[in-house]
Structures are given as structure tokens and as C-alpha cells.
Amino acid sequence: MSRDAEGAGLTEWSAGELADLVTRGEASPRAAADASLDRAAAAGAGRDGLNILLYEDRRDAHRQADAVAAGRDRGHAGPLAGVPVVVKDNIATTVLPTSCGSRILEGYVSPFDATAVRRLREAGAVIVAKSNMDEFAMGSSTENSAFGPARNPLAPSRVPGGSSGGSAAAVAAGIVRIALGSETGGSVRQPAAFCGVVGVKPTYGRVSRYGLVAFASSLDQIGVFGRTVDDAALGLRSIAGLDPLDPTSAPEPVAAYGDAARGSLAGVVIGRPREYFPPDLDPRIRDKCDAAIDELRSLGAEVRDVSLPHTGLAIQVYYILAPAEASSNLARFDGVRYGLRIEGDGLRGMYEATRSSGFGPEVTRRILLGTYVLSAGYYDAYYRKAQQVRALIARDFAAVFASGVHLLFTPTTPTPAFELGARSDPYEMYLSDIFTCTANLAGVPAMSIPIGRVDGMPVGGQLVASHFDERQMFAAAFALERRLGAGARQ
């Protein structure tokens, strides 16, 4: 597809390049929005096709685009001027619905924008669609959506990953260069790996959670997908930073991640944690990872073997803490003030009918699990214990980073994208998060970049940095991306 400043070609420019064109008056925001939505239609992104986008509104996209153009004409153009963006269905937007992939919020339109959405708008971005997701972000394949599973644009019989499968797929399908997703246990990095795009989970507290429908509050973060590292960097920069509306957001200053691109990684120490390269790791994935590590070495980085000894407990910890917090966070969905309401026998009947109709099986399972581990008699054995082991997992990372290591490199997922319906056992599905959920538990930033293909499907390599050191992470990602070249991407 050719790159030109009009029509379909607009989807080929990087986010930064497109913003430049728009700022200089050489491209029209409306045309860019149209190109994006046309591309979505052509790719079959809607319900009848890949089902990666749930809600679109071309007229609203035009309204936003025209406002950007008007601002630009008055001399105000932000760093994402005219750039079309897709937002995951669990992030509040005031025009398109926010249904979290669930019947219980079907048709709900939020009366406020999430802070991250507001910041995107202030940067000039145009929100063109809300993307499909596992219901309430609970899942690793986007098969748990109440509105039907999403499919991987690279291989429609396979999953795009989850829970932010729709956003990852939107970037992979060339609909947008930047999309927002959310992370709790790997829900941005894993689909990024499955779809062959870049996916970033920032440090916990780096991006405001105000407007992100809560799943597990101590783990949730809004994450960014990018077609390239540069796209992701620009996206993250636009939304990161302290938000007075989110008491868990951090005051740490936000660096210009796009400027982190460096030629050499001399002086950078990269750890290869042995727990993430277990003997039963798919040898093809191991090979891709080791090849990527070789590239990092050739760029000047020193590579060390390290250990994160409590890694093997991460799934258990995660699947106690996340459902526990979720069981409480989802109590507000009761049919009283918004969302689905189904009458039953009295008030209690209404609660039960509404929640049993409104929530799907995975959500129900996790609410029950979460309620159980918090309940009297089990709190100490499960919840409290899990929080203690979580502290040990966080210490593992702290210890490694304190020993002179700057970054970790691991596979993002143990397998490439699997077939729809292949993982029927819930616990087996949970194991997809095995390499990603540790970063959520420790709160450290992590990102996945494409490092090659296995069986024709993309695989991702994961970089993990210490708290608030996204800059270091991006520097290595830029360098590796350039080295691996276009062959690593789709």
C-alpha cells in the first residue's frame, strides 16, 4: 500500500508522521479518520467478520476530526493531531458505549471520559472505535466477550489474545497505529505478541486509572499498543502522568519516550531470568528469544543469567488476588443506577437475576473464587498469604535490579496464538499469563515487541524494566526493533 497524504494511504504513516502532516496542513484529520474506518470495513473488523471492533460512529469521528482541524488552523496542534486511535471497551468514553464486553453494561454510555481518553483528545487524537475484549478483562483470548469472540487478523481461526484482543488486532490489521488496552496480568503484552505488534504495560501508577473500569485495582493499568515502538512511545507519552483524580497515580515525571532511541546499548546490562526459559519451553520460541538476545549483545549490551525464584508461584498469587479484588469491584453492577436490570422476586431477586444474566461464565467463576478467598475463615490462608507471596515476587525483581541489571528479557508467551476453542480448561487458559503476570504483581513496566514467527504466527519478546524506568525499556526496544527489521513484524 502506498503512502500518500490522502485516502487509504494515510493508514501507512506512523502516528508521529501523520501528526506532523496534519500539523503542517498537508493531511486532513477527517481523511485520516475515514481511511481508518474504511480500512476497518475492508478488514471485516465488525461483528460479522473478525469482531474486533464493537462500536464505531463515523459522524462522531468526523466531529472530532473537524475540531482537530479547526484547532490546527488556529495554531494549536497536539503531538497526536488527527491520529485515529482505538480504545478498549472497558475505558470510559462519552460518545461510544463502554460495555466492557459484557451484557451487564450493554448500551451504557459513560457521562465522563477516562483521563487517558481526555489526554488523547487533548493531544489531537481521534477516537474512532471501541474494541472487543474478554468480559471485564477476564480472559486471555477475547473468547469471553458477551458479544462473540474476536479473531486474529493474521489467522482468523486463531485468537488475537486477551483480554485486549480487539485493540491488538486493530493495530495488526492496519486500522490504527495506536490503540489503548488494559493490563491486569498481561492483557496488553500477550495479545501484542499474538498479533505481532508492540504492547506496553507501564509502571503501576504511570497512567491514570480514572475511567478504566476496575478489574483488580492493585494490578490494573491502561496499556498502549503500537504498530512500531515509536507509535507505542508516542501513545504512552500522551497519556502518562500524575492525575489528581487517581490516588494511585504517581508524580514521577514522564520522559519523551520517543527520544529514547539509541544506537548502542553499551553499558546496559540485560538479565535472562532462568525461570522464564524452563526446560519445557517451546524450543522455537526459545530460539527466537536467544536470537533476539544475541542482537542485544551485538548492540553492546552485557547479558547475565539471573533468577527470579518465586516466579513459579505467580499464577497462584495472581489468581487469588485478582479475582478477590474483582469480586468487590464488580459489586457495583447491581441494576440499581445503570446498566442491565432484570426484575426478580423483590430486591434480592433483582440483584440475582440481573447479575446472573449480565455476567458470563468466566466472570461468574472469578467473582465466586474471589468472594471465597476473602470470606471468613479463608482470608488468611488465601488472600493474606497471596499478598505476602506477592511481596516476595516484588522483592525478586528489586533484588535483580539492585544488582546492576537494567532490563530483563524473556519470552512474552509460552506459545503463539492458539486456535479458537483450544483452551477449554480455565486453569490451562490462566497459564497463558505465566510470563507476564509477574510484572503486574511487582508493578514494574514491561513491553512486548515482535521477534519473529513460529508456525507462521508472530511471537513476542518481553523487556522488563525497574519501576518508572520506561525510558530504558524503550531504548532497548527501539534498538532491537531496528536490528530485527521488518522481518520480525507482520
Binding site: 472497558n90 475505558i91 470510559a92 463502554t98 466492557c100 453494561l105 451504557y108 459513560s110 457521562p111 465522563f112 477516562a114 486509572r209 480514572y210 475511567g211 478504566l212 473500569v213 476496575a214 483488580a216 485495582s217 492493585s218 489528581p244 483524580l245 487517581d246 490516588p247 494511585t248 478477590a324 479484588e325 469480586s327 468487590s328 464488580l330 459489586a331 457495583r332 453492577f333 447491581d334 440499581v336 443506577r337 445503570y338 430486591l347 434480592r348 440483584y351 468472594t371 476473602l374 470470606s375 471468613a376 482470608y379 488472600y383
Partner: protein, 475 residues
């Protein structure tokens, strides 16, 4: 009877504890709501700093130790006026612990102390109104998110009277530190009681029941009496007390078990992951402690020491509320006569406040002016009777007493010619009495003096009038 009380107090902040919606009373239903207190998907909370300060102030006023780190926890349950499906409160690490309040003294003079187990912060729920519309419950979330402190006492109260004394003491202290308008009628003070019974001499605690739904201090007293009687009846019959919640029904004068669905409540408390721990620098706590106003017990003790002329009763009345005591002192000091000042404040000032509906803080008579009036009486510039009239005019106009006395001609007249002129007038108007007096009925002197005082509108110097009258009949 062994009683512990849990008292919830609404803090007098302008906005809610976790959002900036107004706490104004009486607004149209659900008009003071926002994404946070409506618990819309994606909403988060931020903590109101004034609520924190008022909570710290409350804790310090009750003698508690304020913890530098405390944690907010979620109390999970479903109710239509609880929008999040959980209430944010404090569980394991509350704001403050280990306080103590003296509620009275025993006949031997030893203090009756009630220990305060803890003071913690939490949010109020909204209101569910069951009888406004047929067949449905109407929910108003204006109150959801109003900041509360919960004050939990140890089961140190013995008897319903002590419970009453405790509540009055608590209310008084909280009024003094101005954290709330602590009114059970307005709902800014709510009481739940835990009560058990045990044999005299027994040291272990009996099984307790919780009693709720009392709407006044007298309701608390009565409810405790009724529940105690019920427990005693059960125990006397050889039964055991079931640990349960009882609801007080004031109309029926009885307690009834609350209809509970699954038996126990499992609130599944856990630390709220949306709110980092509340870390209070010592300087903040110290500053609030320094800025605490004088508390009732301290003021009572000080008045006793500084104003020995006052009786215990005087002191009780003058320290009932913080404003009256402050006013009293501002009169007593310049006037130099605390006892007289006390009499005026307890008598005339209180009566005037009642009649005009003013609050002492906005009373039309400035304390310095009242002090001046008292001085004028003492110096003989106006008579006592005249002073009452001057005071009445001060209440109406707010003008200083010297001005009023001059204007109204109430300055004490000692000039004999004026006095004689009035006496002559009185003798003329009350000829019969005058004649009898002149004829030797001495006891009519008082009456005649009274007439002269009236004629002179209180300005006449009664002592001199008496002398002149005596002279007239030659004694």
C-alpha cells in the same frame, strides 16, 4: 447491665469524603452526585483533607492516640443505597485508638471513665425511602459519601444512665471542637448499642446483642432498659442469649430481632486497593492538637479555679456549650465581678437568646457592652432596675449601654430636686397612700419608692429616695 456504644458522627465538611460533591442538606434527590459517589464504572476516589483534620481533631479531643499510618478497608455488602456494593471504612489499622472520656464521678469522688477503643473514618451511605412510592423503594444518594467518624467505646458503661451520660459528654466535647452538629434529630449523630447482662461480681462478659434504630438519647436509655429486661428474663428462665441484632421500636416500646437472611454477616474486609495508606506526619497531628480549643472538662476545672464565687451549678450552665462560656468570660473579666456576670449571663442573656432565637455567637449584645453595663450598675450610674431596661434596649438595638441610658433618661438620678419633684408627683397621684404614709404607716414606704422608680423609669436612686421619704415624715 454492661454496655458499649458505637457512635457515628457526620463531620461538618463542605464536600464529601471521597469526592467534591456538596454535603448540603435538603438538596433535591440525587442532585449532589457525581461519577464517584454514584459508583459509575471507572470512577476513583480522592480523600478530603478537611475530613481528615476533623477526624484527627475528634480523636485527640477524646484522648486517643492518632496512628501515623492507617488503612482504609472495604466492607462488602449489597444494599441499594450503597452504590459501590461496599462501604469504605477502616478495619485493621484505624485512625486512632486508646482514648478515654470521663462521664461523671461516683459518690466517693472517683471519676467514671469510659475507654474509647478506636476512632475511625468511613463514608456514609445514601438514603432508602420505603414509603414514598407504592411498591418500590426510592434511593437518594446525596448522603452517600458524607464523611463519618465512628467512635467505639469499650463495654465500660454500667447502666442506661451511664450510657446517657456518655452520650451527653461525647456530644458536648464534639460541639466544643466544632467537628459536627451532633444532632440525633438531624441524623448527624447515630448510636448503636452493644449490651449484655451478667451477675453481680461476675467478671466475664455475657453474650451481647446489638441494638439499633434509636433516634434520641432517651430512646437509647429506654431501649437499653427494655433489652436488658428481656435478656434478664431469658437468663432467669435458664436460657441463653443469642448473639443477634435487635431493632428498637419506640412506638411499641419493644425490641425485635432484625430479620436476618443468612445468619452471619460476612463483610470480607480487605484493605482498599484504590487508596494508599493514610500517612500522617507528626507535625500535622501536633498542630491540630495545639489548635484544639479548651475542652469542657478543662474549662470546668479552670472556671472552678479562676472564679471561686461560682457554684457548681453556675459552672455547669456556663460550660454547657462552648459559646456561652466564652461569652461569660468576656463579660466577667472586664466587669471585675464574675458572680454578677454569671447571673446576668445565665438569666438575662439566656432568656434573650431564647426570646429572639439568636445563637450566642451572633448575640446582638457584645460582651464588652454587657460588661460596661455591669460596671455602670456597680458604680451607681444606673440602678439595677434601670439596667434591666437598658439591657432590653441593647438586645433590640445593639447599642452601647451608656448611649442607651442617656438617650432613654435612665441614668441614675441622684439630684435631690429631681427626686423631690418625682416624689411630689407620686404623692399627688397616690394621695391616699401618701396620706397614710405620712400618717405613720411606715410599711408603705416601699410601695411609694416603687412608684417613684416607676415614674422615673428606674432612673431614680432608690437609696436616696428612701432617705428623702424618711426625711419627709421626719424619721
Amino acid at each position: 447491665m454492661v454496655v458499649g456504644l458505637e457512635v457515628h458522627v457526620q463531620l461538618a465538611t463542605a464536600t464529601k469524603i471521597f469526592c467534591r460533591c456538596s454535603t448540603d442538606f435538603g438538596a433535591p434527590p440525587n442532585s449532589n452526585t457525581c461519577p464517584v459517589c454514584l459508583a459509575l464504572p471507572g470512577a476513583l476516589l480522592t480523600l478530603n483533607e478537611h475530613a481528615v483534620d476533623l477526624a484527627i481533631r475528634t480523636a485527640l479531643a477524646l484522648g486517643c492516640r492518632v496512628q501515623t499510618t492507617s488503612i482504609f478497608a472495604r466492607k462488602n455488602y449489597f444494599y441499594p443505597d450503597l452504590p459501590k456494593g461496599y462501604q469504605i471504612s477502616q478495619f485493621d489499622k484505624p485512625l486512632a485508638v486508646d482514648g478515654c472520656v470521663q462521664i461523671g464521678a461516683r459518690p466517693d469522688g472517683s471519676p467514671i471513665n469510659v475507654r474509647i477503643t478506636r476512632v475511625h473514618m468511613e463514608e456514609d451511605a445514601g438514603k432508602s425511602i420505603h414509603d414514598r412510592f407504592a411498591g418500590v423503594t426510592a434511593v437518594d444518594l446525596n448522603r452517600a459519601g458524607v464523611p463519618l467518624v465512628e467512635i467505639v467505646s469499650e463495654p465500660d458503661l454500667r447502666g442506661a444512665e451511664e450510657a446517657d451520660a456518655y452520650l451527653r459528654t461525647l456530644k458536648q466535647i464534639l460541639e466544643y471542637v466544632a467537628v459536627s452538629d451532633v444532632s440525633m434529630e438531624k441524623g448527624s449523630l447515630r448510636v448503636d448499642a452493644n449490651i449484655s447482662a451478667r451477675a453481680v461480681g461476675e467478671t466475664r462478659l455475657g453474650t451481647k446483642t446489638e441494638v439499633k434504630n434509636m433516634n434520641s438519647f432517651s430512646g437509647v436509655v429506654r431501649a437499653l432498659e427494655v433489652e436488658f429486661a428481656r435478656q434478664c428474663a431469658v437468663l432467669d428462665a435458664g436460657g441463653r442469649i443469642e448473639q443477634q441484632t435487635m431493632l428498637w421500636d419506640a412506638n411499641a416500646d419493644e425490641v425485635r430481632p432484625a430479620r436476618s437472611k443468612e445468619g452471619s454477616h460476612d463483610y470480607r474486609y480487605f484493605p482498599d486497593p484504590d487508596l494508599p495508606p493514610l500517612i500522617l506526619p507528626l507535625e500535622r497531628i501536633d498542630r491540630i492538637e495545639r489548635e484544639l480549643p479548651e475542652l469542657p472538662a478543662a474549662r470546668r476545672a479552670r472556671f472552678q479555679a479562676e472564679y471561686p464565687a461560682l457554684t457548681a451549678y453556675d459552672i455547669d450552665v456556663l460550660t454547657a456549650g462552648p459559646g456561652l462560656g466564652a461569652y461569660f468570660e468576656q463579660v466577667a473579666r472586664p466587669s471585675g465581678d464574675p458572680k454578677t456576670a454569671a447571673n446576668w449571663v445565665m438569666g438575662d442573656v439566656l432568656a434573650a437568646l431564647k426570646a429572639t432565637g439568636q445563637a450566642i455567637e451572633h448575640f446582638s449584645v457584645r460582651p464588652a457592652d454587657l460588661a460596661q453595663l455591669l460596671q455602670m450598675v456597680r458604680d451607681g450610674v444606673v440602678s439595677h432596675t434601670a439596667a434591666k431596661q437598658v439591657f432590653a434596649a441593647m438586645v433590640k438595638t445593639g447599642d452601647p449601654p451608656s448611649q442607651i441610658a442617656e438617650r432613654e433618661g435612665l441614668l441614675k438620678v441622684t439630684d435631690d430636686s429631681a427626686l423631690i419633684a418625682w416624689i411630689d408627683d407620686v404623692f399627688a397621684e397616690h394621695a391616699a397612700e401618701a396620706q397614710r404614709f405620712a400618717g405613720g404607716e411606715r410599711r408603705l414606704q416601699g410601695v411609694l419608692v416603687g412608684h417613684v422608680m416607676k415614674k422615673s423609669k428606674g432612673a431614680a436612686d432608690p437609696k436616696r429616695v428612701n432617705q428623702l421619704l424618711s426625711d419627709r415624715i421626719g424619721t
